[in-house]
């Protein structure tokens, strides 16, 4: 368990993901007041059936996205460690997408700015629903000095790993 006082991290156990997309639903309801899968800050990819997984920011130690932003639209929350987007400052140039080793940031589908997980200011909605359902793919833990950027990988890379882990080498044909 975590207290609200310390920065947090969302540990992820991707192979257990059911693909229920309740995290997408919860995230977009919380941030957009709509069910909006492509506007969700956590998105469930499934290029290979059965190997569904959530894809979202991992708060890299060095925050390359923040550094790459030419107009300082991104900052780091002291409270949670999340990347915060100043939506008015963002010029939608996409530099943060290129800088992110996992290509995590994406444009808001209807507005002219980037969206990145803000850790819901310390009480992640996605974690809550994933836990309620008993899938426990997502768990909130204390943020420590660890190389979390290891988890910032592109959907293609993750999909390939998971598919091969599930289906063995024949998964190569499915990707």
């Amino acid at each position: 368990m975590t207290t609200k006082k310390e920065p947090i991290w969302i540990a992820r156990d991707l192979i257990k993901c059911s693909g229920c997309r309740k995290c997408e639903i919860a995230c977009s309801l919380y941030h957009e007041n709509r069910i909006w899968p492509e506007a969700s800050r956590i998105r469930v990819f499934m290029p290979v059936p059965g190997a569904d997984f959530p894809h979202f920011c991992t708060q890299c130690k060095n925050y390359p996205c923040v550094k790459a932003c030419p107009v300082d639209a991104l900052s780091i929350s002291k409270k949670t460690g999340a990347v915060l987007v100043k939506t008015k400052a963002c010029i939608a140039c996409g530099k943060c997408i290129e800088a992110c080793p996992g290509r995590v940031p994406h444009m808001h589908p209807a507005k002219n700015h980037i969206v990145i997980c803000d850790l819901c200011n310390g009480s992640p909605q996605c974690v809550k629903v994933c836990q309620e359902g008993g899938w426990n793919v997502l768990t909130t833990v204390h943020r420590r000095a660890r190389p979390y950027e290891l988890y910032a990988r592109t959907p293609e890379q993750i999909a390939k790993d998971l598919a091969i882990k599930m289906y063995g080498e024949q998964a190569e044909d499915y990707i």
Binding site: I35, M107, P109, W135
Partner: protein
């Protein structure tokens, strides 16, 4: 405009390549909701007057993919596929789970209507309002997994190229047909992912007849705005909390049925229903769980149940086979119904059916039928192109499935589905083989028998259903009860998964409808008027039928003859269905739904629902006269 709808439907004419958006009037949406209800209405309006002449597998048929206002909101997203059915010659609301319906609504479409037919294989690519008809020659002939892989790569690449600024879009959602659909096999499915299927109705054959290999859709918008999102959130939680209690389905899906429906309720098809009891512990859910399941919970959009389990065979002669669960229906029809009792054989055959694009239920049914004819010496090894489908011979059934999917030799005949195959074989062999055909109105009976009386369907559940043998839409009384077909029409029109209503107070889905659309729909209004009206139109179109087959209620509002044979073994040995009871139940049912003693909707019934035009067509049609006999 009513809340909760995108407000437009995409209409694609494959003959002329014309693409347009159409609008459906608010009054129609209020009455028919979406999915199955709306499909029935659209089909009646467009084809009703010439229904009997419409060949389901020719360009004049129309193919519908419809969502409803609850798709994506009510936990467990689905889409409803419909059209004139090449199985029943009526209308089937055939739903399939997945993200397709949600993506479509996020692309700001409530559905897709496909008319005409293409002269070469094509697929539709939809990204929000950008719609392309694209060449599909390179995927024509490919199986499920190859199709998904090739299309997946191609469409992800298209999205990257065309919309580079967004960052990484999620992959689009797909519906497609396998080789069986391409070859117009009447038991072909419209598939999603690798393993999900809209099977009842045979719409894979319709899609194939139009040379439409697949549809890919990516929507980047939100779900159409709900009237009261706060209430929607509350209701989602109510559904989830109720479903989370359902330990059985969450843990085993329907995968415990393969053993239990045989051993406990004695209502599982065994060797083409010659029995409904088995006690093969080799088919126990523990065996599936420990030997073949590689993923315990697999789910579709918003679903709290996760009835799916991913299964894979990693060693031995079936190495490489992948499917889901198999769920109970696949277990039964591609298991005991063919005399097979191991998880590995079952996964292998299910995976093969997925790959070929065959409906496991109905193909399992027709193969069981062929195997019984072989057992009785009616079909010989020669008739069967050298195949000897002995009970339990998995290789023989695999060979037969391939022949069916490609319509080769005997497969061409069996590809017509059990009923039509029975007529043809009967004619050829000059003997009645219909008594071995376990189907109702061209639709194979789902894997829930009625003889033991311990499963859910009742004596007239299949006989009087407007969707024939479909076990997800069965007839029952009282009309406003949970066993009524009118209840299923709600789920199929909503459109959401019917599994997520079990254990949830019925009021919740009506509250859901109101929270999303802003319109109050009372249960009384639904059961007495709206669903009732949809049922009557489905019944009328089923009776109009044609062109190859017409149903006569006297003969065809009936159980398969097998259900009148006593159960040969098990705890309910000797039990059977009482014909007198069926007649009595039928009378009560006709009376309740306002059909005359011949099973035809009464003028009074139709007039009260504002369906005078249907009454006219129905009464004018030859059926009224000939059906009196």
């Amino acid at each position: 405009m009513i809340k909760g709808y995108a407000g437009k439907i995409l209409e694609v004419n494959l003959s002329t390549q014309a693409i347009k958006d159409i609008k459906i009037g608010d009054n129609i949406l209020k009455d028919y909701i979406g999915g199955r209800g709306l499909a029935t209405k659209i089909l009646w309006d467009r084809l009703g007057k010439k229904w009997e002449k419409i060949d389901p597998l020719k360009s004049e048929n129309i193919l519908l993919f419809l969502t409803g206002p609850l798709t994506g909101y009510y936990p467990g997203g689905r889409i409803c596929v419909s059209g004139k059915s090449p199985q029943s010659n009526g209308v089937i609301g055939s739903t399939v789970a997945g993200e397709f319906g949600v993506e479509l609504r996020c692309a700001c479409y409530d559905g897709i209507i496909v008319t005409g037919e293409s002269n070469k294989p094509v697929y539709l690519f939809i990204k929000d309002s950008d719609v392309d008809i694209r060449d599909a020659s390179h995927i024509w002939g490919k199986d499920a997994k190859q199709t998904m892989a090739t299309l997946g790569r191609e469409c992800r690449e298209l999205l990257r190229k065309r919309y580079p600024k967004f960052g990484q879009l999620k992959e689009p959602s797909f519906l497609y047909v396998g080789p069986a659909g391409e070859n117009k096999v009447r038991t072909a499915v419209v598939a999603a992912k690798w393993t999900h299927a809209a099977g009842y109705g045979g719409y894979g054959a319709v899609m194939g007849s139009k040379k439409l290999k697949a549809i890919a859709v990516k929507g980047t918008g939100p779900l159409p705005k709900a009237a009261n999102i706060k209430e929607v959130k509350r209701l989602i939680k109510v559904v989830n909390d109720n479903i989370y209690e359902n330990v059985l389905w969450r843990r085993w899906g329907t995968g415990s049925g393969g053993y239990e429906v045989g051993a406990e309720t004695s209502s599982e098809p065994v060797r083409n229903w010659q029995d409904e009891w088995h006690n093969e512990k080799s088919f126990g859910v523990d065996q599936f769980e420990n030997r073949v399941w590689i993923k315990q919970s697999w789910s579709d959009f918003g679903c709290p149940t996760c009835c799916l389990k991913v299964a894979m065979i990693k060693t031995g002669r079936f190495k490489g086979a992948i499917t889901d669960n198999p769920d109970y229906e696949m277990q039964a029809y591609l298991g005991p119904n063919l005399g097979l009792f191991t998880p590995e054989e079952n996964v292998f055959l299910s995976s093969l059916a997925d790959d070929l694009g065959l409906c496991g239920i109905q193909t399992g049914n027709v193969m069981g039928f062929a195997a019984e004819l072989f057992q009785r010496g009616i079909l010989t090894k020669k008739d069967l192109d050298g195949i000897e489908p002995k009970w339990g011979d998995v290789e023989a059934f695999a060979a037969l499935a391939k022949k069916i999917a490609y319509r080769e030799g005997i497969g061409d005949l069996l590809a017509e589905g059990t009923y039509r195959a029975a007529l043809k074989i009967g004619e050829k062999k000059k003997t009645d083989v219909l008594k071995y055909a376990v189907q109702s109105k061209g639709i194979s009976i789902g894997a829930h028998g009625i003889r033991s009386g311990k499963d859910y369907p009742e004596s007239i559940s299949y006989a009087c259903s407007v969707q024939g043998g479909d076990h997800t839409s069965t007839a029952g009384l009282p009309l406003d009860g949970s066993g009524s077909e009118l209840s299923e029409i709600f789920n199929d029109s909503g459109v959401h998964c019917n599994f997520n209503v079990f254990g949830v107070p019925r009021k919740v889905k009506f509250d859901f409808y109101k929270a999303v659309t802003g319109i109050e729909l009372t249960q009384k209004e639904w059961y007495k008027i709206k669903a009732f009206r949809i049922l009557q139109i489905q019944r009328a179109l089923l009776l109009l039928g044609g062109p190859d087959i017409k149903w006569k209620p006297k003969t065809h509002d009936e159980n398969p003859p097998r259900f009148y044979e006593p159960l040969p073994s098990g705890p309910y040995k000797g039990k059977t269905v009482d014909k007198m009871q069926v007649e009595e139940d039928k009378r009560r049912y006709y009376n309740a739904v306002g059909w005359d003693e011949n099973g035809i909707p009464k003028t009074k019934t139709l007039e009260k629902l504002g369906l005078e035009d249907i009454d006219k067509v129905l009464k004018k049609s030859c059926i009224s006269k000939s059906m009196l006999k």
